[in-house]
């Protein structure tokens, strides 16, 4: 337990010391949201129709942007070796890495979401569903990314490779996430979508840390 809190604290400290890295996915998100009405023309109805999908696509991509750095500096400076040697199980550490990643990408997105929803003329009635779906979905994305990041960390210039590995795995989240928001915007019930997202999250929490830990071990083995 003390390892988990210690690790979390360390990850957040590191992020606080390198704000540019944390901000750049958010800036990407903000820029696209801003540009979006410009590109499509200001017709509010159309905007609102596209909004859920676009919102989710950008969320996906900005999560992806931050995923590459999850283990990289730790691999390069040798911290990952020490992590592997620590007495507590590696999969718990992996879970913490994913959680920290979520706190730094998913959570800020969640916080900015109401503002962006407003800019995209999304009906306010859908806001609740948007937030819940974002919370569940981005958590799945962080967990899935942690696997890809662990497998590619020892490969120099792993960024694009990582995208190749995890983007296909993002697809279900995208479908149900944007589906939920679209349903809510149309005044339908989004409960089924959210339940499915919650199911995916439990599956990811149960399995991803183990795959991630295996990946970390293989990467450390590569020296």
């Amino acid at each position: 337990m003390s390892l988990a809190t210690g690790l979390l604290r360390r990850q957040l400290l590191l992020a606080a010391r390198r704000p540019a890295q944390v901000l750049s996915p958010l800036i990407f998100f903000a820029m696209v949201v801003m540009l979006f009405p410009l590109g499509l023309g200001p017709d509010p109805r159309q905007l609102a129709e596209f909004a859920p999908g676009v919102f989710w696509i950008i969320a996906l991509l900005s999560t992806l942007m931050a995923a590459e750095d999850m283990f990289r500096s730790d691999y390069e400076d040798g911290s990952l070796e020490q992590l592997v040697l620590m007495p507590s199980p590696l999969f718990i550490s992996c879970l913490v890495y994913a959680f920290a990643h979520w706190l730094l990408t998913g959570l800020p997105l969640l916080l900015m979401a109401p503002l962006f929803a407003l800019m995209l003329q999304m009906p306010t009635s859908a806001l609740g569903v948007l937030l819940v779906s974002l919370m569940l979905g981005t958590a799945v994305l962080s967990l899935v990314s942690s696997i890809g990041a662990a497998l590619t960390v020892s490969v120099r210039r792993g960024g694009v490779l990582l995208s190749l590995l995890v983007l296909p795995l993002y697809v279900p989240v995208l479908i149900f996430g944007s589906g939920a928001v679209a349903a809510a915007a149309d005044g339908l019930s989004a409960q089924a979508h959210l339940l499915i997202l919650a199911g995916m999250l439990s599956l990811a929490v149960a399995l991803a840390p183990f795959a991630c830990a295996a990946g970390v071990r293989i990467s450390v083995d590569a020296g």
Binding site: I147, L151, T152, S154, V155, G158, L161, L164, L165, L167, P168, L169, V171, P172, I175, F176, G179, M200, L203, L207, A211, A214, G215, I218, S219, D221, A222
Partner: protein
């Protein structure tokens, strides 16, 4: 049972037995392929709605069918090599990946070309098309991960982990894509006319499907044999093999 497993894991046994299998499977495959192709291209009757373009089915459907099966072959081999550290499974996985990717590519390309005369466009975001595209990406991911590592053994482990993750995800991806499509599409394009297929059209299709399965097996065994030789190049049995048979062959 155990001794069979043991044998499966032994390179020289595998090399020998696969050689024996290939001596008859390879000719059978080629004959089946030629027979099916000629039958489908020239002798099967014309479809009353799609005309001759439907003849693409004899490539398209077998290739598409194999692509998914190939992924599972690869993933099961990967799991076996991760869990039981069986050399042969590792080799099988390494060899299955590019073959599966090739079939997937063929399925995609033939479908796209078929789309032009039937749908009037090369590409439609239909559920099956999209899942197939995702599958292709999954294959590419495994191949790219293999290739990215300096150390082969580690690359194989990493790729095995990835293919296992993919295996858990494929059903979810397929289901969600299905659901996505049925939600959005008020069925403007439907291309699954299989049930009403005429028997004369169906028989060559069946033949081609069998032929493609044989083709997959042949190609897998062939690449496994060369991979076995490469990895065992310093062992005694390879030396004996090469010095015995090498004089004539090389």
């Amino acid at each position: 049972m155990w001794s069979f497993f043991h044998k499966l894991g032994s390179p020289p046994w595998m090399y020998r037995i696969s050689g024996t299998i290939l001596t008859w499977l390879l000719p059978v495959t080629i004959v089946l392929l030629a027979w099916g192709a000629i039958w489908g291209l020239l002798y099967a009757p014309e479809d009353f709605r799609q005309g001759n373009s439907y003849r693409i089915i004899y490539i398209h459907v077998p290739a598409s069918a194999i692509s998914l099966a190939g992924y599972y072959v690869m993933a099961i081999a990967g799991a076996t090599s991760l869990i039981w550290k069986m050399k042969m499974a590792d080799i099988a996985m390494r060899c299955a990946a590019p073959i599966g990717a090739a079939f997937t590519f063929l399925g995609l390309l033939s479908g796209a070309i078929w789309g032009k005369p039937t749908w009037g466009t090369y590409w439609v975001w239909d559920a099956r098309v999209t899942s197939m595209l995702v599958l292709f990406f999954l294959y590419v991911g495994v191949l790219a991960l293999y290739e990215a590592w300096d150390d082969e053994a580690l690359g194989a482990k990493a790729a095995a982990v990835l293919s296992l993750v993919g295996t858990v995800n494929i059903p979810i991806i397929y289901k969600s894509v299905d659901w996505w499509f049925s939600l959005h599409q008020p069925a403007t394009i439907k291309f699954t006319e299989a049930p009403s297929m005429h028997m004369d059209m169906f028989q060559p299709l069946l033949l081609m499907i069998v032929a493609f399965y044989c083709l997959f097996t042949c190609s897998l065994l062939l690449s496994m044999r060369s991979e076995i030789l490469r990895r065992e190049s310093t062992t005694g049995w390879v030396r004996k093999l090469l010095l015995g048979e090498g004089a004539g062959a090389v």
